[in-house]
């Protein structure tokens, strides 16, 4: 821990889902980018309130699946028709139809790899620590409190203005979290 801690962001606590939902709408309308909402359970409509778009994980799964299918087909073709040719059962050395089931399995496997690695990459995981975890009250985010955190790194951030915005949104407890 450094002796001279940098500010990480403003943490605003809310007591119920309606308040935090409206606060999220306000923060989104104000045009912030580096911010997030923490809650003990999923709140319906929060994605829309925060202006979140569809997750990009699907693209990672698709690319993973495509790589898996290609790998399967090429692997079976190379092993059976190039590297170690064996005439079995009067069949051609390579048949895409017969190679389909294992290639399909690799599609699923690599597709799920793509999904989980893409999810980790997009979330910037794994990481060992996060500034919010040091905060004493933040643990209540998994109990009965709701938090909106706006990072100081946001271009629109200004200590007094942002604090005012969160107060206006109805938060009774706003604290600075340090890195």
């Amino acid at each position: 821990m450094s002796a001279n801690p940098k500010p990480y962001g403003l943490l605003a606590e809310f007591d119920n889902t309606a308040d935090v939902l409206h606060a999220a709408e306000k923060v989104r309308t104000a045009g912030f980018r580096n911010w997030d909402v923490y809650m003990p359970f999923p709140i319906h409509g929060m994605d829309k309130a925060m202006g979140l778009k569809n997750s990009k994980v699907g693209w990672f799964s698709f690319v993973g699946g495509a790589i898996g299918y290609t790998t399967g087909m090429l692997m079976i073709w190379w092993m059976n028709a190039v590297d170690y040719k064996l005439m079995i059962g009067g069949k051609p050395m390579f048949s895409p139809n017969a190679a389909f089931p294992p290639s399909y399995e690799l599609t699923i496997l690599f597709g799920s790899f793509g999904a989980i690695l893409g999810m980790l990459f997009l979330n910037r995981l794994p990481r060992l620590n996060h500034p919010l975890l040091k905060h004493k009250r933040f643990g209540l985010a998994s109990h009965d409190k709701f938090y909106v955190v706006i990072e100081t790194a946001d271009p629109k951030y200004s200590e007094s203005e942002t604090r005012k915005l969160l107060e206006a949104a109805g938060s009774k407890r706003i604290e600075m979290v340090e890195d």
Binding site: I88, G89, G90, K91, P92, S95, N97, A98, P101
Partner: protein, 437 residues
């Protein structure tokens, strides 16, 4: 409508029947044009290859329409064996279609019987005298007399079965006696067994036998699955037109279309399951005496025909029929049914023609099976329409008819088979028939 119903005011008036008078001559035209193509093809094939290509083309068309007869027979048998209620409304159609098996499809079989020694290489005198092992193992079935005995036996069973089922069904139209239902159930009981045997024999002796060396226990099931699939699509469209023409409207309610669509969906999956199993097991078992059948079908354009079947016979209809509302959406079901006809034709060519055309799909010859199909289709449609006009369009005194109409639900619960009726939006009001007055 005597029953007061708050919701019926919103229903738009049913559209008037379509004017189909222009279409009346279509079967006749098909017979004419198809017959002409058939004669030209016959002469052409006589000159070129000793009627072999003609025989194969006729076989493709015959097996296609045999599917309709057998599929309809199965639907009738299944109806009686399950003591079904909803399918009473469409049963008369199936009875007429099944009765095409004899004498009409039997007559259409005659060219195959005559050309058999040219179509089936194993029937030649050389192989019959000195059979190879693959043929010898199939004696006495794969002998000339075996072939004709099987054919006669199959058509005899189909005649007896369709004749009895239709006889008692028509008799019930007059007497309304429960005895008729019991008789039909009795005939269905023995009938389903002989149906399974004769269909399998037919598929093996007439279709699989073009490559006699091959063997597959799944083959009859695959032909059965494709046949019922085709028949359901056909019955769906015919029922839909008869509903539109106000012929069946009194006995139909929406669920019949949903049920037919669901069965079509089920048979889409069943066909895919059976044909994939057959391929997967045979290919991976690595026995040359089996794999050759599929090796031939990977050569040339046959490979792509196989892909057309994988995607067109399974994936496309599967995905198209997946949603619940599609099954009763006529604008979508008509193209799907037409597609089923095309796919079953491709399936028949894929099963039969590689024996004769080893290099790939015979695009140069495709006009001949299509012409013969036009001829057979026109002829059978003509007969079917005549049969349909000769009797009540539905079994009018069947004890289960009121269930088909959706007017009587003794125990309409989720487990009793009345599941959808009870979930009707009319909140417990009796479901009204769609019909006019």
């Amino acid at each position: 409508m005597s029953q007061q119903d708050d919701f019926s005011n919103d229903d738009p008036l049913p559209p008037p029947p379509l004017d189909l008078s222009k279409w009346r001559t279509l079967p006749g035209k098909l017979i004419g044009i198809g017959g002409l193509i058939t004669v030209v093809g016959f002469l052409f094939s006589w000159q070129h290859d000793g009627m072999v290509n003609f025989g194969f083309s006729w076989l493709v068309a015959f097996m296609f329409f045999l599917s309709l007869g057998l599929g309809a027979l199965f639907l009738v048998l299944a109806h009686h064996l399950f003591d079904a209620g909803w399918s009473v409304a469409t049963r008369r159609l199936c009875e007429h279609m099944a009765s095409l098996l004899f004498p009409w499809l039997a007559m259409l079989f005659i060219p195959i019987a005559l050309l058999a020694p040219r179509i089936y290489s194993w029937m030649g005198p050389a192989l019959q005298k000195n059979p190879d092992h693959a043929l010898h193992a199939k004696f006495p079935l794969f002998t000339t007399s075996g072939f004709y005995i099987v054919a006669v036996a199959c058509f005899a069973v189909w005649w007896l079965l369709t004749n009895r089922l239709k006889f008692w069904s028509l008799k019930q139209d007059e007497t309304g006696s429960a005895e008729c239902t019991q008789k039909m159930r009795l005939h269905s009981y023995w009938g389903i067994w002989l149906f399974a045997f004769t269909l399998t024999f037919g598929a093996i002796m007439w279709m699989k036998a073009v490559q006699y060396q091959w063997f597959s226990t799944m083959y009859g099931v695959q032909y059965f699955a494709g046949s019922v699939w085709l028949t359901l699509a056909t019955i769906y469209v015919i029922t839909m037109f008869l509903d539109r023409q106000r012929v069946l409207s009194d006995v139909l309610h929406e669920h019949q279309f949903y049920f037919l669509g669901s069965l079509l969906f089920a048979f889409t999956v069943f066909y895919a399951y059976v044909s994939f199993s057959q391929y997967f097991i045979i290919w991976n078992a690595n026995m040359p005496e089996e794999t050759f059948w599929y090796v031939v079908r990977e050569k040339g354009t046959w490979f792509y025909v196989g892909l057309v079947i994988v995607f067109g016979h399974f994936f496309m209809p599967f995905l198209a029929l997946l949603r619940i509302d599609v099954k009763s959406n006529f604008a979508l079901m008509i193209p799907i049914a037409a597609w089923a006809w095309l796919m079953h034709f491709v399936d028949m060519t894929f099963n039969i023609l590689p024996a004769q055309f080893k290099d790939g799909f015979p695009f140069a010859w495709v006009w001949l099976p299509l012409g013969i199909m036009a001829f057979m289709g026109g002829l059978l449609a003509q007969v079917f329409i005549k049969k349909f006009a000769s009797a009540s369009p539905y079994p009018k005194k069947d004890p289960r008819l009121i269930e088909a109409m959706g007017l009587y639900h003794p125990v309409a619960t989720q487990i009793s088979g009345g599941e959808l009726d009870q979930a009707d939006t009319r909140h417990g009001a009796p479901v009204q028939p769609k019909g006019g007055h």
